[in-house]
């Protein structure tokens, strides 16, 4: 009974989005076949008599009827269907949370899938962020359709890819095999490449190319690192089937060869760091985030980065057991500070608000990396809380920025004025999301940044933390000045063109969740502690 349910709980997060994606594929085929059927019927008069006179025959109207009538109905259903998988992920995460309390872990498929507290925490974040992003997607797609940018099948393709993306992320989170983890993360790259290049403009193609090339190169390095650790594990006498199994490796890491592990970990940090937006292979991030559709940006920034980082958290356990804590600590600290400095410097003269948000993601990932580098229980709890808070706030910010882009037609900060006057709720949501990203209380990012800083000073890493704080201050100044320029001031006219509230409830929900996490963790407190414990916070 327990076996079955745990297999079910571990499978559903990955399988459900895949199933939804499949459903979309099937549903998407239907109108496409419809239009395929329609093509000959329109083609016939073309072949017969050249250009048909408009309105004289039914054939001219038929494709439009096919195109418009079903989507109006189908899209509504499709919108809601997209929410099934986030809801399912959240539900599984909640059920899993009850099972993993006290540091236990669930396994399935002979250890290929495994859930511990970290898994559950990440699933919760993935589910919550996906809920916000998927709930914001219909509005985005409607805009795209309005602007004529969405070709017939692109809506369906969007849904399919997003669901596949979710499935890949969930797989990356629930697997215990480091090889499968790598495969899943690389799969996210491939899936999102199409989402980044969704619009097929020059810039989006460029962004997609950079994204794929840089991330693939980076993640290839991570694979090389994985191979080396596998080699070390084999040499340490771990059987082939278990040499990439994380619990086994973590338990027996002290027998790994230090030199090989060191080389492997360095490559893994560089590789997964690329996916997590850390220096040096970070440069894809602002381009991809600014070009991807807003809900996708939200997902990428809110969870993809953290899912990649969660992989690093797992590897860090192995490295610390094999090498002692100093190696990863120095490596991650240096990388975190470089990333932070770079993000802060590039925000100083930033002119594009989506890029600004992207650099802000780098800033927050580097804070998480710094917390990981510190590595005490408090620091790891804070880093995990930061992952959650950042995911929620950033997804809200990106979704709101998508609405702003639609409203104003420009991504240039200098051309957006008086948002609060123009669309009070939207401007307010964007402003509050940015405030949350700037770590104002009551949003949880304040608590987590404070926790990271506190842990850093306690662990004797005062200087790196102090430098980080001043870099964060620089970023703060840049973001505040720019956001204030965007949302404050008189509106363009007396009349406010407000978003319908149906587009805004996900944003409000996200902000409320972020604020609630900052006030009290409630039942999540135990889970967070266990998760931090799982990844070495002891």
């Amino acid at each position: 009974m327990g076996e079955v349910s745990s297999v079910l709980l571990l499978t559903v997060p990955t399988a459900l989005p895949l199933a939804v994606a499949g459903a979309y594929a099937l549903a998407g085929l239907r109108p496409r076949t419809g239009s395929v059927l329609a093509v000959p019927s329109t083609a016939e008069p073309v072949m017969a008599g050249g250009r048909p006179a408009p309105g004289t025959d039914g054939a001219g109207r038929m494709p439009t009827a096919v195109r418009e009538a079903p989507p109006a109905q189908g899209r509504h259903l499709a919108d809601w269907a997209a929410l099934v998988s986030p809801a399912g992920i959240l539900a599984c995460a909640v059920l899993l949370a009850l099972r993993v309390s006290g540091g236990r872990a669930l396994r399935a498929y002979s250890g290929l899938l495994r859930a511990d507290a970290l898994t559950v925490w990440m699933l919760l974040v993935v589910g919550a962020v996906a809920l916000i992003a998927c709930a914001s997607a219909p509005a985005h797609l409607a805009d795209e359709g309005e602007a004529g940018r969405a070709a017939g099948g692109s809506v369906w393709r969007f849904h399919i890819l997003v669901q596949a993306f979710l499935a890949a992320m969930c797989l990356a989170v629930v697997t215990a095999n480091l090889g499968v983890l790598w495969v899943a993360i690389e799969a996210t790259t491939i899936v999102t490449a199409f989402l980044v290049g969704h619009r097929r403009t020059r810039t989006s193609v460029e962004a997609a190319w950079k994204y794929v090339v840089i991330c693939s190169a980076g993640i290839a390095l991570a694979f090389l690192g994985t191979v080396l650790i596998y080699y070390a594990a084999r040499q340490a006498g771990i059987g082939e089937a278990w040499a990439l199994d994380w619990p086994t490796l973590a338990a027996r890491a002290d027998r790994l060869d230090p030199a090989v592990t060191r080389l492997g970990i360095t490559l893994v940090v560089l590789g997964f760091g690329a996916k997590a937006g850390l220096v040096p292979l970070h440069a894809w991030l602002p381009d991809a985030h600014s070009q991807a559709p807003a809900p996708v940006s939200a997902l990428m920034s809110g969870v993809l980065l953290s899912v990649a980082f969660a992989a690093l958290l797992r590897y860090r356990m192995i490295a610390n057991a094999a090498l002692g804590p100093d190696f990863t600590r120095v490596l991650l600290t240096v990388i975190a500070l470089l990333t932070l400095a770079l993000a802060a410097a590039l925000m100083l003269a930033q002119r594009d608000y989506k890029r600004m948000l992207a650099y802000s993601s780098m800033e927050h990932m580097s804070l998480i990396a710094l917390g990981t580098a510190i590595g005490t229980p408090l620091a790891l709890s804070a880093a995990l809380l930061h992952i959650a808070g950042h995911g929620l706030a950033k997804s809200v910010a990106f979704c709101a920025s998508g609405r702003i882009l639609h409203l104003t037609g420009t991504a240039r900060i200098g051309r957006v004025r008086g948002l609060l006057a123009r669309a009070p709720m939207l401007g307010g949501a964007f402003g509050l999301a940015v405030a949350a990203l700037l770590a104002f209380p009551p949003f949880s990012l304040f608590a987590s940044e404070l926790g990271i800083a506190r842990a850093g000073f306690t662990a004797g890493m005062g200087w790196p933390v102090a430098i980080a704080l001043f870099l964060v201050l620089t970023a703060f100044a840049a973001i505040t000045a720019r956001t204030a320029r965007m949302i404050l001031g008189p509106g363009p006219g007396p009349h406010a063109d407000e978003e319908p509230s149906s587009n805004l409830w996900p944003l409000v929900l996200g902000l409320a969740a972020c604020a609630a996490l900052g006030i009290t963790l409630g039942p999540l407190a135990g889970l967070l502690t266990t998760a931090a414990h799982t990844i070495g916070g002891r």
């Binding site: 090889g179 790259t189 491939i190 190319w209 060869d257």
Partner: protein, 230 residues
């Protein structure tokens, strides 16, 4: 197979593997590069086959054959197809836009070759602990895998044509696969399958993107992709 013959064959395969990488760096014609890349795939496939024969692990031989099909057959085919599509357009307009040539790499060929030499030395230095951990003929050849990884990365950094970058990426990947086989006779099958599938998909994606790039920019010179910047 005797120990000595095995070592010699393995070294031969590894040598060919490294040589192919260097030639990729040397040549400018994309068609030639793809051909060399295919040959490298053969050399790569030879490694697991040799290992399998030597250790009498037939599964490894099968994997090796699979690798060979993918790396020496399918992937070069895909790249070549993309190349043909690009040059077809070129022939149609009757202009030489240089789509089929890596006319001006960011680092010139001579310097590239010297760098490759330096990178190979670095790979030997870095691989020292790997070799020391378990000194067998296979691990002795590990630096080759690492050197190809570095050379592949270098290609990625310095080559301007989109397809050259694809080849660079594939070199990088070949190097990793070689390293995996040389170090530990390959990763578990499920991972291997996943990795191969991912690489295939990545190449497909890149191919599609190359086409779109050509549509959007009129060229596949990556250096022209500078619209997104701060």
């Amino acid at each position: 197979m005797s120990e000595g013959l095995f070592t010699q064959l393995l070294d031969l395969a590894c040598g060919a593997f490294l040589l192919a990488a260097v030639i990729v760096l040397w040549r400018r014609e994309l068609t030639a590069i793809v051909r060399v890349f295919a040959l490298q795939g053969v050399a790569l496939a030879a490694i697991p086959v040799l290992l399998g024969v030597h250790e009498r692990r037939w599964d490894l031989v099968v994997v090796g054959v699979g690798i060979g099909v993918l790396r020496a057959g399918l992937l070069p085919y895909l790249v070549r197809r993309a190349l043909t599509a690009l040059t077809a357009g070129q022939q149609r307009y009757g202009t030489d836009t240089g789509e089929s040539r890596e006319t001006q790499p960011l680092v010139n060929v001579a310097a590239s070759l010297l760098t490759a030499a330096a990178l190979t030395l670095l790979a030997y230095a870095v691989a020292r602990p790997l070799v020391e951990l378990d000194p067998t003929p296979e691990t002795q050849a590990l630096p080759v895998g690492l050197a190809v990884v570095l050379i592949g990365f270098f290609t990625l950094v310095t080559r301007r044509r989109a397809l050259s970058q694809v080849v660079g990426f594939l070199l990088l990947d070949n190097g990793i696969t070689a390293t995996a086989f040389l170090a530990a006779a390959g990763v578990p099958l499920i991972v291997e399958l996943g990795v191969s599938f991912d690489v295939l998909l990545a190449v497909l994606v890149l191919q599609i993107l190359t086409t779109r790039m050509r549509e959007a920019f009129g060229t596949t010179d990556i250096d022209d992709l500078r619209e997104l910047h701060d």
